[in-house]
């Protein structure tokens, strides 16, 4: 009697649609972009990359871009800065350890201060998931999410896509829902704490790719398989590798483990990408890594430096993609629509 609870269907309050992004130049999530928008950014990245630097640096001449970094960064910060400068923009770098953030200034107040100083767009790296949304709502400026906590890193997703396309679909000009049909991308390692994984698993299936997440339970909960269409979980690394054309290796994010204990010996035995594994299970796969790489942990030095590695290409692609994204940030409003 008691075990048969009658399920009544109750109308319940709807979940309101997201008001984000407020600014058409913002890039908070890869989901802010339509596939046409992705195509435009990829095409523009190539154009800007090939453009005469002296012509290119007039595009955003004397426009002001702020880089607001609450976490340390080598690749993302430098490539955003080089990208903005390559277009002629002035950049200002604010990092949490040498600013009033140390004195307790909030993200909102820091953002409003930068806006008053003339910043026309803010590139934000922050250790809290969702920080870019807060900053955009409070400043209404174009905000470029350069990594928010464990959430997203949309320009990384785009530069990874550019790298994957260069290897697997050379010469294509635009992308659509079938561009990566038949392609499987394994994302391996600390998925739980990875914003790179989230941006990629949201973006790549929209182009037809399959994403296989691979890692131990502590770093990859079962429910990750429900994170979106085209996403599956495979615990066995060699099985995942065997079906993949791209192997994206991730670092264990020691700074976000929050007391979690990981047996590194066991981890490397199961999940380290070695030359032997690569040769046996994925001799043609492209090896990606968003960096920073920890040689000898998630991958060996031989693999990182080996012929299948596209890790340094990713870095290079980062500048091209970020030029296109920074340009979009400062021109989308003028063009009166969102990309």
């Amino acid at each position: 009697m008691n075990s048969t609870i009658v399920r009544r269907k109750h109308a319940t309050p709807p979940v309101p649609a997201s008001p984000f992004p407020y600014n058409p130049g913002s890039l908070l999530s890869v989901m802010d972009l339509s596939l046409e928008g992705v195509s435009r950014l990829l095409a523009r990245a190539t154009e800007l990359d090939q453009m005469d630097p002296l012509v290119r640096n007039r595009i955003l001449a004397k426009r002001k871009v702020a880089l607001l970094f609450y976490e340390s960064s080598t690749r993302t910060r430098t490539s955003f800065e080089l990208a903005a400068k390559a277009l002629g923009a002035d950049t200002a770098l604010i990092s949490s350890l040498s600013s009033s953030i140390e004195k307790g200034e909030t993200l909102k107040d820091t953002g409003l201060t930068l806006r008053s100083l003339g910043a026309e767009a803010i590139i934000l790296r922050h250790n809290a998931s969702g920080a870019a949304w807060l900053l955009e709502r409070e400043t209404r400026l174009p905000v470029l999410n350069a990594g928010d906590g464990m959430h997203e890193h949309p320009t990384q997703g785009l530069l990874d896509l550019r790298t994957i396309l260069a290897h697997l679909r050379p010469g294509i000009a635009t992308v659509d829902a079938e561009t990566l049909k038949g392609v499987t991308v394994a994302i391996v390692g600390d998925i739980l704490h990875s914003r790179v994984a989230r941006s990629n698993l949201l973006l790549l299936p929209r182009l037809g790719a399959q994403v296989v997440l691979c890692g131990p339970k502590e770093l990859l909960p079962d429910l990750a398989a429900e994170a979106g269409p085209g996403v599956t979980v495979e615990r066995d690394f060699e099985t995942a590798l065997g079906q993949s054309q791209v192997a994206m290796m991730l670092r264990i994010q020691a700074e976000r483990l929050a007391g979690m204990q990981i047996d590194l010996g066991g981890y490397t035995a199961s999940y380290q990408l070695t030359s032997a594994r690569l040769a046996k299970f994925a001799p043609k796969a492209v090896v990606l890594h968003p960096g920073p790489i920890i040689r000898g942990l998630e991958l060996t030095a031989e693999v990182a430096d080996g012929p299948q590695s596209a890790i340094l290409e990713q870095v290079k692609n980062g500048v091209a993609i970020r030029m296109a994204v920074v340009e979009r940030a400062l021109t989308a409003a003028e063009q009166g629509g969102r990309a």
Binding site: P13, V15, P19, L107, A128, G130, M150, L192
Partner: protein, 437 residues
Amino acid sequence: MTALVIRGGHLIDPAAGVDAQKDILLQDGHVAEIAGPGKLKGANGAEALDATGLVVAPGLIDMHVHLREPGQTHKETIATGTAAAAVGGFTAVAAMPNTTPVNDSAETTRWMQAPERGGVVRVFPIAAATRGSKGEAINDYAALKAAGAAAVSDDGHPILKEGVMREALAAAARVGLSIIQHAEDTRMTQTNGTSASMNLGTVSFKLGLRGMAAEAESAIVERDIRLVMELREQRPHLHVAHVSTAATLNAVRQARRNGLRVTCEVAPHHFLLTEEHVGCYDTNAKMNPPLRAAADRDAMIEGILDGVVDAIATDHAPHAIHEKEVEFDRAPNGILGLETALGLSLHWLHAEWKMPLGRVLSLLSAQPAAVLGLKGRGTLAVGSFADVVVFDPKTEWVYRAAESKSKSRNSPFDGWTMQGKVWWTISEGRIAYRAQN
């Protein structure tokens, strides 16, 4: 003291079994007389309120609020919190002890009830179950009860240690108080001082936020019920605060079948919203326990409709605007509730889900009064306290957090349509709130 007559209204007093047109005379802070329309004998010269077309009901009782006084008066004071209560039709609120300092003393318990605090409705302090709400040493419950504490709780924190909880249940039973447990196994929800900030599930994974497992709630409730069972000779009363998961509700249901004195409350946000309402990191959708999965929310609806839920309680938890305008994982837990509980309950429970009006009102008055053992409240039987709410059950209106009487604005229900306009809230015979027109 002046007398007050409410004429022409429809009296709904579930505890007294009244659901009819009645006039009612309030005198000296109590209900003096109830009679058919125009039949009151002692009403001569009393101020009269015309309640034609309106419902007259026992004043609402919110058994779970945070009034932030003493010590956190930038968020709320007893004066502003009770003003918001009166707007919402509440004539009594039970104030949780996580103030600064924690209310773990008879002095603070008395201080909160003093007229100087400016409360416009009755405040029943819930005193801390343990010293400083640290979950280690239990307080002197007899002294707290003598000072007016309606129950004891470490709300905001669980009483985690089994030995302490057992001792607390037994000690509270000896003096006739209930233990209100904030059920959260913090060993599952906190790591190295980092607290999870929403429900654990697909949404938390997608948002990159640390999640609180539903089991962190039900595990403590199941343990506590086991303790109540072990102590059943002493008749302890366990009340589970802000139930948010299906598993917890099932545990309470089972305990009741076993004849144990276990009661529970559900907050409007837990029977209306889900983890999806966190949206893009809306800190007004952050509270503890968090918004849960749709299946849990549906279980709260079922539990209210089938009667296992004893009370609707708001967990009114004001926070200053600047405290909520921060990164999601750094924002404090809690939302406003006093001004929206009746409007949401009438809109959803009554109008949408067809719960009889008397049952909805009972969950908001008679039943919480019974849980807390408040004599003469939650009913309008002759001789009871003159705690009354008079409202139009049909009128729809839109809630604007910016116009709240609370000091704070942190409501996820800003802009929502409410049903049921409160015309008068009367606390012990005095009009605590009167609609502007």
